[in-house]
Symmetry: D2
Subunit: 389 residues, 4 copies
């Protein structure tokens, strides 16, 4: 019998569901050293929290997160609460000696991220920041190819993260549009993922130029239920000011000389979760799109010239990263599987006392790049990432 | 608290895993009237069965399936055992008054399928045959569009189901190649799915012409472990005769005048689980490929002529069939999700005393078409499906 | 200065234009031994013919084709007249000692095709049948790869040729629907191309099973101008019977054991000129679609398993067949270019006394397969191609 | 009989061929008011020029371009000579009262472009700058849709122009790498096209941020024949410095508030002539890629939400821009066709005394944006296009 490991999940929304599902599945599909137990569900609204806890089989509910962290019987704190409370929660969890599994983006500012990383470091606890796309099999396989030198010297990164869910001007002014709650729009929410992937696959970003746009400057104030993202729902007739970007385009230099671009937008009609990248190197090229997450495009420049072409690799073989745990070749996996992969790696790191990436240190670096982009947009000049301190 | 419903899963292989996962998840994502309980796992090899049962949280293991069916505390019998035992198991389960959830293909022959359907009918129990692809959201959405008349009069069905996992001549002579265990090759295994989809989306098949090919006629006899599908593993040096098709191409007329084609093969290099169809009608066209299961291609002939083109619909909206239960638009689902959808529908039918499709009656119709194809191939003539009795 | 070679073009329609354009261009882009001269344009309607001749720079017009063929100053007879006159024209041209460049399909029947081939053979003149798709660079490159053994043992051919231009029931009853003028519908018009490609790439067809459908059985009689393919134009209010197939699906065995399918239809909404094939062999797979004619999909099974995927090869390198004569890599060519390629090869064959494929002998074989398909459809049984005599 | 119009083509290379082909074809496919006559071919190398002239049927050759322009019997001067001589040639041609058809990019600098535009304006002659991609049917159709308001308010432009022909470090130091001959690398050569398309489809660029990279800083000095772009050909063993960018990424604001990105590179393995854009607006989205030039991706946000998807429109209908002049739906055209379209429009403008776009005024605006990008890259700040004077 496996050892049990107790988890507190802090948050009951979309991400609470995705994380609980992951903890439920990880020991079924991966040979992990623990059997995760969904011990405590923390929420802010009582009815939702009770329902959530019952559905997912949590033993208990709780409404004071700090107290949860102080319990001796909690091993892992899984933070899926709003970004604005990440810092306080991570710092507290670290001080309580808990392993921290935290949803992205790390924080609302560089200062917060630094504080979180310091707390985790000082406490010596395991931390993980859930930039889940790293563990999509196709992306992990891309990483493997790059590390094996299959792309040669890297030249360019072309990233994009496009969605369209707020294009309706009647979509209400939810927290996503407020600077103090979200810090940024797609720059913060989506480019944080792209920057994570770029750091993972390419290396550190050295300098940034960015331009931001807000296309719809006023939106209806939300009524109750606006968080469900239904345009016009509960509208009160009043409007408020959008304080973040609707789209942000950024170009970068990496420390290793690679040239990069990052286009992100929530105003790209037809793009639902279009997390995309192209990588070009001296020996090959790669392209990936989350909407076809099981496929990796690969061009091998060492193939005979007349036979070169982007290969559409189905990354579903048992020998591809993570894929063997699931079904059979061609039996594609979906969005939530990458969460399970992260949990498997997290549990292994917990057992061995190792680390896992990305973690709070990575969070610092990612937020630093985003801050640099904000500064570049404001000051209309190239900003070195190291300027952000 | 939901009522509990007890399930016995008969089989511990790939499909045992897929089904157990489904039962585990269904009440988490769908508003079903029951909480499924994995009560008994039946297997033939003790070690595998114990490990399987423990991993998935079954309360018990069992090694006599008939006895399991006679237990009063089992509500649903989920059959994921080899096809050759489907008939006996389904008949017994029906006689024991159990609801039957049975993996495809229904049976090894038309006679068996008829017997199964009769038993289920006589017992008045709920039955379901797991042609899972019907409940992929994109396919269910295709059905909805057709039912709403969006395609107008239907003209053609072009189906294909292509794989490549046995192309290596050293791949051993597993049960898949034996007539008494598998009845057919891809015709039985894969075209059964295609025929199910065609009956679902188009209608009944009236007549069939078919040609079959076996490209590799002798294969190494398998040693232990051959079932893991690893070429050459455990080879003994001896070879045996392949008794089924490696590829089968079939053309059909449907009762409603539609013209159909069904190409299936396990010798289609690069196709991993390429379950594909195109449908053409007077008002529109559809195309779908399981390898991109979240997408449906749709051509609306009522769009202005110069603006017509196959639309690539991401079938991941909350308003698309089944999709709202999962994540968010563009957050794609995978292979196993369709199993969960079937279980949700099954539990609702169980509660209401309704039916679910496809069921054992559908199994009869599907096997009848496959038998007609075998007969056509043997007799080198067009065979009316009604000739199979 | 190159030698001049005099050409008579017999026909002034869509194909007259495509051929004249080809003759105009061939010596500009290819190093051919002759400078083609557009000497005589033959037509049946005087105004059209004069206009056509003037536009394309023909020296003369003519209204008696037999007389044209008897002229000493004509070297090449280019037949772009309706299929029903192909036989008489080819036989006469051969008897007059002219090199024959003839549009497809060869003839209305096997008997006609045999007579044409015999006439050409007896006269010892060069003949070419314009199944133009062979000389699309991507197709010629596919041929090269197959000949070099890159696909290993061939297993399957999956061909399709789909269009949608007559789906409107008000599209008038033009010659395309009359048995004595067209012999067949898409079977004759489009599958003749597919069969040509299959014979080129795979080998001879041995036996055939086919089903045909006519979806719209009566159509308005055309008024003047119906030939312009505009639905309803000039409709008289009367209707007549459609005598040919609207769609024909066919499955085949090839002499070399390959299994084949050929789906053709003019009722496939959204498919404009979808001439498609997939080829599967023991070492690799190919796929091609005319609508993306510059691309060839190639799967190399000798790539490492985890890196296999269909490569999308842009067949536009200077080292790809024919492609070097045109622009630069990635600078795609179009429909008419394959005509120029055929003319270049034709002029070389004319100079050297060699042959070119496909020719009238190939026409016999192609028509024989189509006749077998008709017979199979009528007699509802598998028909050996050799039965057609 | 049409009036003849005499053309002098100045240059005999790749573009000389493309332009001569266009003049040869334009009156065959379009109803233009003139019959173009290839009167004089100007070149610098005698053998090449004579061969070129003979092949394309020029009446004469010439080796003094200024003299050619002074001839009374030349109506149109078609400049396909290196960019560095564009200014002198255009100014002279204008002064001689000739209509000017000039290959892109307009000039090596903003100052040159201004001088060219002024000369043309003062002389009152027709001018055209051959940014050919505007007249690809799919692009012209995109323009039509935008003008009709089908995209609503425009939000984003995502452009890219990627090639890979100089990735080999042994590719010699041809004129393409010298600042005084080419001014820039892909920024000048390729982004000039992208900027032209963006101005055509979106509007004027207001400000620019750019980063440039040179990945290979030294290259072998070319021997004779290096211009043929064959790596290593004629290498002398010496190397020289690359003076231009290998890749340039740029982000922009447009006057109308649209946010833009332009990525260009000659180091994008597998991209041959990947001239790509995406456009997002409040009512719809478009995407286009030259490598599939006959297709336009269109997303209509006014379709029912569950049926939305990028439509792949084959822009080959007779009712699509320019397409009706060629073949039939689905019968795709190629690279050179857009040249013919430009010539057709040019001849109409010549006849009517009208104008055609893009012209020398557009050249000024395009070069101004490119200069702003250079300045931004140098000064590491956002540069307003209006700063370039």
């Amino acid at each position: 019998m496996k050892k049990k490991i107790n988890i507190a999940v802090l948050g009951t929304g979309f991400m609470g569901k995705a994380h609980s599902n992951g903890w439920m599945k990880v020991a079924k599909f991966f040979d992990v050293p623990f059997e995760p137990v969904l011990k405590v569900a923390f929420g802010t609204e009582r009815d939702d929290t009770e329902e959530f806890a019952q559905k997912w089989g949590f033993s208990e509910t709780a409404y004071d997160w700090a107290q949860v962290m102080e319990r001796d019987d909690i091993d892992i704190v899984d933070i899926v609460a709003p970004t604005k409370v990440h810092k306080d929660m991570v710092v507290k969890a670290a001080r309580c000696g808990k392993a921290v599994f935290c949803e992205k983006p790390a924080a609302l500012s560089y200062a917060e991220a630094v504080e979180m990383a310091a707390a985790v470091k000082q406490a010596g606890v395991l931390s993980y920041l859930n930039h889940n796309y790293r563990r999509v099999p196709a992306v992990a396989f891309a990483k493997k190819m790059i590390e094996e030198g299959r792309l040669g010297t890297l030249y360019e990164w072309r990233g994009a993260y496009l969605q369209d869910w707020i294009m309706d001007p009647e979509f209400p002014l939810t927290w996503h549009f407020k600077r103090d709650l979200a810090r940024g729009g797609p720059l913060w929410d989506l480019s944080s993922h792209s920057v994570d992937l770029a750091r993972y696959l390419i290396g550190e970003v050295k300098s940034v130029m960015a331009i931001q746009k807000t296309f719809i400057e006023e939106r209806p104030l939300p009524g109750k239920g606006a968080a469900t993202f239904t345009a016009g729902k509960g509208a009160t007739g009043e409007t408020g000011k959008v304080e973040v970007d609707d789209a942000s385009f950024m170009i970068t230099e990496f420390e290793n000389g690679v040239l990069g671009s990052f286009d992100t937008s929530r105003f790209a009609g037809g793009r639902k979760n279009y997390n995309y990248f192209e990588i070009y190197g001296s020996k090959g090229s790669l392209a990936w799109n989350f909407e076809r997450m099981n496929e990796l495009q690969y061009l091998n420049m060492e193939d005979p010239a007349d036979e070169q072409g982007f290969r559409n690799i189905m990354v579903t073989n048992s020998t591809h990263p993570y894929a063997g745990a699931w079904w059979a070749p061609g039996h594609v996996v979906g969005y939530e599987h990458a969460f399970v992969h992260a949990m498997a790696d997290f549990l292994h790191a917990y057992e061995t006392g190792g680390t896992i990436d990305p973690n709070m240190e990575d969070g610092v670096k990612i937020i630093q790049v985003l801050e640099a982009a904000l500064k570049s947009s404001d000051e209309e000049r190239k900003v070195r990432v190291a300027e952000i301190k």
